[in-house]
């Protein structure tokens, strides 16, 4: 591609602006290999720029939403994160870790023996070999990887969680919040989750900034998380995103699972202007299980993109992808669910399902389940549906006295309950159901 063609691409101007900001960023205190990796990542970003419409993985999520964003300073001082009102934790009996305006607040004290929750710098020192391997495993080349490159180059804020062999660490809540009226800046944040053999962790992430009429926030976050599950380890992850209408959120999770480990993920989106989640799971040891579910409730001009890929590399693993979408207004949802069964991953079991309710003629869902099988004796099912509410059910409910609006709200809520019911702890699952219900599109049909 010539330079001239490149400049015409949407997002080229933005990429240029961000590349300039990258050049000015301080590499920060870190081991030599990490400083070199950060410089290399910056170089990759400068070379490739941002993904444009012709990049398949970003086809439905244009760069337009990012145009007004500047990159946040690479190393924001702890003091600059204002003490502002944040919503209460979504669940009780959790160790709470606060991240405000992309800055990690002081990690909590009094953790159980064997659970470490460290800021990125301290984590790199303590688990240098493991983190180096994880850092270096991230692909940085090409426009598809632009945000991974940006994160690697710039993220000096981060969190390292380690759960020692055999320990059930209980529930850890990451409470993300951005200050009211925050400028349109993109923060970079890096998370590492290290679960040794037989370890267990219940991770809850809440992304909620506007709460009870607080000013909307235009903050952006580019979050990269890498996780390692030892043999028979269990990671539960529940992500609840009910950000303000202006917010922009990108998450990319990569998970490597050893034999007989279990990963249970539930993700909920009912906020933000744009949220895109990439989730890449590698079932590397026999008998590993990944249960991945999500629900998104979109109205207005919201945009939510879920890109999930599960790779079966060992025999007798099983995975499920189960997503539900409710779309109203002019919202747009994207679901791309891929399952890849590598040669030798015999006896794999794969289920994929994405069902959507389109409640407005102007809403759009792009759904694509992909199944690639190169092994034997694989049990696989996949399906995607797009539909409207069951009008017979609406009439049934009205014939019992419920108003049409109530009937429709109850039915759309019920549609998502298939996902909220998977969340452990009735308190948390009930709170999530309430948040989704509150975000249900108005009945503008």
């Amino acid at each position: 591609m010539t330079e001239q063609q490149h400049m015409k691409m949407p997002g080229a101007e933005l990429a240029g602006r961000w590349a300039a900001a990258l050049g000015a960023a301080e590499p920060g205190p870190a081991p030599t290999w990490l400083r070199e990796l950060r410089a290399q990542a910056a170089g990759e970003f400068r070379a490739a720029g941002l993904p444009h419409r012709k990049v398949e993985a970003w086809k439905y999520t244009p760069m337009r939403a990012f145009e007004n964003y500047e990159l946040a300073a690479a190393a924001p001082a702890l003091a600059t994160a204002q003490a502002f009102e944040v919503p209460a934790p979504l669940c009780d009996r959790a160790i709470v870790v606060d991240i405000r305006d992309g800055v990690l607040m002081a990690p909590p004290a009094g953790l159980p023996d064997g659970l470490s929750v460290l800021p990125l710098g301290a984590g790199v020192e303590r688990f240098e070999a493991r983190l180096r391997r994880l850092y270096e495993s991230v692909e940085l080349q090409g426009a598809t990887r632009a945000f991974a490159a940006l994160n690697t180059a710039l993220a000096q804020q981060g969190l390292v969680v380690h759960v020692k062999q055999g320990l059930d660490a209980g529930r850890l809540l990451l409470r993300w919040a951005f200050s009211p009226g925050a400028a349109a800046t993109m923060s970079q944040f890096r998370v590492f989750l290290l679960l040794d053999d037989d370890a267990q962790l219940d991770l809850v992430e809440q992304f909620m900034s506007s709460w009870g009429g607080v000013e909307p926030t235009a903050a952006g976050l580019n979050l990269v998380c890498q996780a390692e599950l030892g043999e028979r380890a269990t990671l539960r992850q529940t992500r609840v995103q009910a950000e303000s209408d202006q917010a922009l959120l990108l998450t990319a999770m990569t998970l490597e699972q050893a034999a007989d480990s279990r990963y249970v993920f539930s993700g909920f989106d009912c906020g933000a202007a744009l949220a895109r989640h990439e989730l890449n799971v590698r079932l590397a040891g026999p008998g590993a299980v990944a249960e991945i579910a999500g629900a998104f409730v979109l109205d207005g001009q919201r945009h939510t993109d879920n890109h999930v890929c599960v790779e079966h590399r060992a025999p007798n693993c099983s995975s499920e992808q189960f997503f539900r979408g409710v779309l109203g207004g002019r919202s747009r949802g994207v679901f791309n669910g891929r399952a890849l069964i590598q040669p030798g991953a015999d006896g794999s079991s794969v289920r994929q399902s994405n069902a959507n309710l389109l409640l407005s003629p102007l809403a759009e869902i792009d759904t694509k389940p992909e199944l690639e099988i190169y092994a034997d004796e694989v049990e696989a099912s996949h399906g995607a549906t797009v539909g409207q509410l069951d009008e017979t059910a609406v009439f049934y409910m009205r014939s019992r006295g419920l108003s049409e609006g109530e009937a429709r709200r109850m039915l759309t809520g019920a549609f998502c309950r298939a996902v909220t019911d998977r969340v452990q702890g009735s308190g948390l699952s009930g709170r999530i159901a309430e948040l989704l219900d509150a975000a249900m599109p108005g009945n503008e049909m």
């Binding site: 049934y396 014939s399 019992r400 006295g401 109530e406």
Partner: protein
């Protein structure tokens, strides 16, 4: 029996998808009465039930329906429910994800709110539900499941009658509530209905077969054929129909009806 007219249907014409189904139906039900509407498949029985409940897609092209003296056709389905009309569905709808108890409490409270009565909290509602459950021999288990989801045919029909018991309608229409039930389930459903007979409540039993009427003995039986009531009579009219079959009607059997079965006009 009182002399108050609960439902008065006059010259009702209705179409479904442009096709005429009801072609001048007259029916009058007084408070406290149980009426049976019988007829062969396609005669318009379910259409009648749907039109009274206000289902979309059923267009009334002529005639009127007065419910306690009020024009029913101008009311939305939920307003009809709040005014005391209840339809037990022929095919109760499964609603995955909506808890049976939650749904029923929301419905009851919507109706109470409409009538200006205080809403019931979950404790008060549970107490009410327990009382009604005993009568219908319904297990608690049904309450905790999603509305009709995975229910057997019998459970679905019993759940309809249970809803009726909780909502305490003034006019209930049971649309083929007997279909798909074995004899034990049929008896239970009939018992549930009989317990709800009262001087203030009217019930219309829509059915193809006479069998249900052995257990819910009606005050009046109407025969529906090609969209009109062609004969009305006492409970034994149903037995006659069962004996002779519906073809007997079409072959001019009406003329042979006994004295108990007069055309409605003659009775009025």
């Amino acid at each position: 029996m009182s002399d108050i007219t609960m439902l008065e249907i006059r010259n009702l014409h209705a179409t479904v998808g442009g096709k005429p189904i009801l072609k001048g139906l007259d029916l009058s039900v007084r408070a406290g009465e149980v009426h049976a509407v019988m007829g062969p498949n396609g005669s318009g029985k379910s259409t009648l039930a749907s039109v009274v409940a206000g289902r979309e897609g059923y267009e009334v092209t002529d005639g009127e329906i007065l419910y306690r003296g009020r024009n029913l056709l101008e009311l939305a389905p939920e307003e009809r429910a709040c005014e005391g009309i209840f339809l037990a569905f022929q095919y109760p709808v499964e609603i995955p994800g909506v808890n049976n108890t939650y749904f029923l409490r929301a419905a009851l409270n919507a109706q109470r709110k409409y009538r200006g009565e205080p809403e019931l909290d979950s404790m008060q509602f549970l107490k009410l539900v327990r009382e009604k459950l005993e009568v219908l021999h319904i297990s608690d288990d049904l309450l905790h499941r999603a509305v009709n989801e995975g229910f057997s045919g019998g459970e679905k029909k019993r759940n309809e009658i249970f809803q009726m018991a909780v909502l305490e309608p003034t006019l209930a229409i049971l649309d083929e509530t007997d279909s798909g039930l074995d004899i034990d389930a049929l008896k239970l459903v009939a018992e549930g209905v009989n317990r709800q007979r009262s001087p203030d409540r009217s019930i219309i039993v829509v059915t193809h077969y006479q069998r249900l009427l052995d257990y819910i003995v009606p005050d009046r039986v109407h025969v529906l054929s090609d969209g009109r009531i062609v004969a009305s009579g006492a409970a034994d009219l149903a037995l006659k129909l069962e004996e002779e079959g519906y073809t007997w009607l079409e072959q001019g059997g009406i003329q042979a009806l006994d004295s108990g079965a007069n055309p409605p006009a003659a009775r009025a």
